[in-house]
Symmetry: C2
Subunit: 423 residues, 2 copies
C-alpha cells in the first residue's frame, strides 16, 4: 500500500495488530471440558481443523474418535463406537468453534480436562487438552487400553493437581515464558524444551505445596518433567486466546486461524468471522524416523498451526537452528530464510517475542491475505508427521505450506462482501 | 607449527586435548568438605585464585573470611575473627590446591557442603560449594547473621536432600546437560538459566521421592528453582574435573587453570604442574547496575574462569547473544568476534559443546600459551563485577582479559625447564 492516507483496510489491520501485541495470556487452571464449554452435550466430539464429516476423515482422526467414544463410556468397544457413528448419534465440531485448540487429531470430549488460558488484557479465554506425552497417544490416533488409562489418569490425578498449583500461583504469565523460551532456541511448535523447563521451574514450588499424597506428587512430577513438548498445547492456547481478539474486525484482512483436520487445510480471516476457507491439505516434507518414509505419512493435521498464525513456529525458525535441522531445513542461514520469507506476508514484528539470532528483532506477525495472494508466498508451518494408519503415531517431522487456494478464496469472498456492502 | 612431523609439544598438547574431549563429568553427591578434602584441618580456609596472604587480600575476600570464621564457630564475632588472623592462627590455601573451585571469593571451610563432580572417564573428582543465591552472600564478601543462617541451612537441609536425590539418580551427566544448555543460549558463566532449568527437571523426580518432611521439600524446591545461576558452580566443578586430567603432561603448553583472588590473576600450565604464574588482575569493563560505576568495582575475582579454561564462558560468547548484551559487548556479530578471537589461541574445537549460532561448530578448546604469547591475544573472561567493599555484592557484569604477563612468565619458565633438561 503506497497511498499517503491509510486505507480503511490498513487501519483495521493496524487495530488487529495492536490487539495481538496487547494480549496478556495467562495459564490459570485446568477443568473438565463439560464445565468450561457450556453447553457441551454428550455424544459430541470436537476435533482439529475445519469442519469435516466422518466419511472424509483420515485414518488417525477416525482411530482417535473411536478411542474417545470408549473413553467417555459411550461405547464399550470399537465396534460399538463404530455403530454409534454409523447410526448418526455422534456430532462432530471443530475445536475452534468452542474457543479451543488441540494438536494433531485434537480430540476433545466432555470428560477431558482442559487447560484454561485467560487473555487478561481482554478477558477472553481459550482452552486446550493436556499433552499426553510421547508414544501411543490419542492425538496420533492410538486408542488401546493403555491410551485410555493414560487419559483417565490425566483426568483424575493430573488435572486437579495442576489446577490447584495454577490457582496457588495466581496464573502463569505466558508472554514472559514464551519470550524467554524464544531466546533459548524454542520456536514453540517442534521444540518446546526451554518453555517446558521454565514452566516446570515456575510451577514446582506450587505443586509441592498443593499435593496431598506423595504418590500423586511423584506421578505428577514425572509427567511434567518427562515430556519436552508439554508446553506445545499451552503455546497453542496462548496463541488462540490472542488471535481470537482479532476476529470480526470489519475490513481486516489478517488471518485469525489456520488449522488442519488431516484432509483439509482451513483458514479464517478477521472480517469474515467464523467462516472457513479450505483446500486439500498438503503432505509435509521433512525427515523420517528410521523405518518410515513418505509413503507412510498422513497429510498434515492439527490445530497447532495457530502458533504460526501468531508468528512463532516456522515463522520463528531463525530462533531455533536445532529445529531447522530436525525438520530437514538446514542450518542457521536456511532457518533465517524462513523467517525472512514470512516477513513478506506479515504486517508487523512482535515487540515482545524476539529472535536472538537476529539481534532481537521481533517475530513476523499479522498474516495479511492480500500479501499472500499478491506474492504467492504462503505460510510455512513446522509440523510433526503422523503415520496415516491410526495408532502408530509420529514417524517424522518436517515443514508444510498452507495451500494458496484458501487465501485466494478468502480474498474473493472479502471482495464480494465489500462489493455487496457498497451497493 | 608448520613442521611435517608433529613436534613433541604438539603431541603432548594433542594428548591433553584428547583427555579434555574424553572427560565425562557427572554430578554425584553433596558432602561436608571435611569428609571430602582429607585432611582438612580446622582453622584452614580455602579461597579463590592463586595463593595470597591476608595483607594483600581485597575487601570482599577479607569480609568473606571473617564471616566464614564465625560460621565455623572458630570466632564469636568479626573482632574475634580478626584477632585469630592477626595471631597467625588461620591457614589460607587456594581451592585449586584441593581439587576444588569457588566463584568470587570462593571460600571453603570444613563444615561447608561441597558438590562432588566425578570424571567417570578417569575416576578423578572435583568439588565446589552450593551456590548461595543472589543478594547478600559470602561469595561477594557479605557476612552478617542472615548470610550465616543461609549457610547453615545449606549445610543442614539442602546438602543432605540434594545428596540423597543425586544418589538416587545415579549421577547427572553434565556433558549432556552442558551441551544442551549451550544450544539454549547459556554460555555457562554469566548465563546458566537453561542449564539450571534442565537440572531442575532432571532432579525433581528424585527430590520428591527422597524428601521426608514436606517443609524441607518446599524449601529445597524454592532454593533450586529460585536461582538462575545455580548451575554456575556445577559447570565450574565439571570444568575442574575435566581440566585436572591435563595437568603434569611433559611438554604440554596448554593452560590447565585460570583463577583470580581479587588481587592477582593466576595461570597454570600443564607441563609445570601446580605452579602458578601471576600478575596483577585487571578491572572488568562492562555495564553497571543503577547507582554504581567503575569507581565502585573490585578487581576481578573467583575461580569461575575455569569455565573459560574449558572453552565456555566468554569463549562461547557466540552461543549467547543475551549475555553479549548483558556484559556490554553488543549483539550477535560482536559475540561471534569473541569466539573467533579465542580460536586464535586454542588448538581445537569441542566435538561435544557446540555453538548453535555457528551451525554447530564446537567451542574453542585448549589454550596454548605459545599462541597467546605469539599473537598477543589473551583469554577473554565473562565476569560478575563485585563492589570493592565487603558485603555489598554484585554491582554489574562485564568482560575482563587475562594479563599477558602470566603467559609470558609461564612460557619463559617452560623454556627454562626445557633448556635445563636438555643440558
Amino acid at each position: 500500500m503506497t497511498t499517503a492516507m491509510p486505507s480503511p483496510i490498513d487501519t483495521a489491520n493496524a487495530q488487529a495488530l495492536e490487539r495481538i501485541f496487547a494480549a496478556r495470556p495467562f495459564l490459570v487452571g485446568v477443568q473438565p471440558a463439560r464445565e468450561l464449554l457450556v453447553p457441551f452435550d454428550d455424544y459430541t466430539v470436537l476435533h482439529a481443523g475445519p469442519p469435516i464429516e466422518w466419511e472424509r476423515m483420515c485414518g488417525p482422526l477416525r482411530g482417535a474418535i473411536l478411542g474417545a467414544l470408549c473413553y467417555e463410556g459411550w461405547a464399550v468397544d470399537e465396534r460399538a463406537a463404530q455403530a454409534l457413528i454409523d447410526a448418526g448419534k455422534i456430532t462432530f465440531r471443530p475445536c475452534h468453534s468452542a474457543s479451543a485448540v488441540g494438536p494433531m487429531t485434537g480430540l476433545i470430549t466432555p470428560s477431558m480436562p482442559l487447560m484454561v488460558v485467560e487473555n487478561r488484557a481482554f478477558g477472553n479465554r481459550a482452552y486446550t487438552t493436556l499433552n499426553e506425552g510421547l508414544g501411543k497417544v490419542l492425538r496420533f490416533g492410538a486408542n488401546d487400553a493403555s491410551v485410555l488409562q493414560r487419559l483417565h489418569w490425566l483426568q483424575q490425578v493430573a488435572a486437579p493437581l495442576l489446577h490447584a498449583a495454577l490457582q496457588r500461583s495466581g496464573g502463569l504469565d505466558l508472554r514472559v515464558l514464551m519470550a524467554q523460551a524464544l531466546l533459548m532456541g524454542d520456536e514453540m511448535h517442534q521444540r518446546n524444551v526451554a518453555a517446558t523447563s521454565l514452566l516446570v521451574r515456575v510451577l514446582m514450588p506450587h505443586l509441592v505445596r498443593v499435593a496431598a499424597a506423595s504418590v500423586q506428587l511423584e506421578e505428577m512430577t514425572d509427567y511434567l518433567t518427562g515430556n519436552d513438548q508439554f508446553f506445545l498445547n499451552v503455546a497453542m492456547a496462548a496463541a488462540k486466546a490472542t488471535m481470537d481478539q482479532t476476529m470480526h474486525i470489519p475490513g481486516c484482512t489478517l488471518v485469525t486461524a489456520m488449522a488442519r483436520n488431516g484432509t483439509e487445510f482451513g483458514v479464517r480471516v478477521s472480517a469474515l468471522g467464523e467462516r472457513w476457507f479450505t483446500a486439500p491439505v498438503e503432505m509435509p516434507t521433512g525427515l523420517y524416523f528410521p523405518g518410515f518414509s513418505a509413503v507412510d505419512a498422513n497429510p498434515d493435521m492439527g490445530d497447532s498451526a495457530i502458533v504460526e498464525t501468531l508468528g512463532v513456529g516456522a515463522f520463528a525458525m531463525a530462533a531455533s537452528p536445532a529445529v531447522a535441522q530436525f525438520v530437514g531445513v538446514g542450518g542457521l542461514v536456511e532457518a533465517r530464510r524462513y523467517t525472512a520469507e514470512m516477513l513478506e506476508i506479515t504486517i508487523g514484528r512482535s515487540p515482545h517475542l524476539l529472535l536472538p539470532t537476529l539481534d532481537g528483532l521481533g517475530v513476523p506477525t499479522g498474516i495479511d491475505i492480500r500479501r499472500v495472494v499478491e506474492t504467492g508466498l504462503v505460510p510455512w508451518i513446522n509440523t510433526g508427521i503422523a503415520h496415516r494408519q491410526a495408532g502408530i503415531g509420529q514417524i517424522g517431522a518436517g515443514v508444510v505450506q498452507a495451500p494458496l487456494a484458501c487465501f485466494v478464496q478468502a480474498l474473493e469472498a472479502l471482495a464480494e462482501s465489500w462489493d455487496s456492502s457498497s451497493r
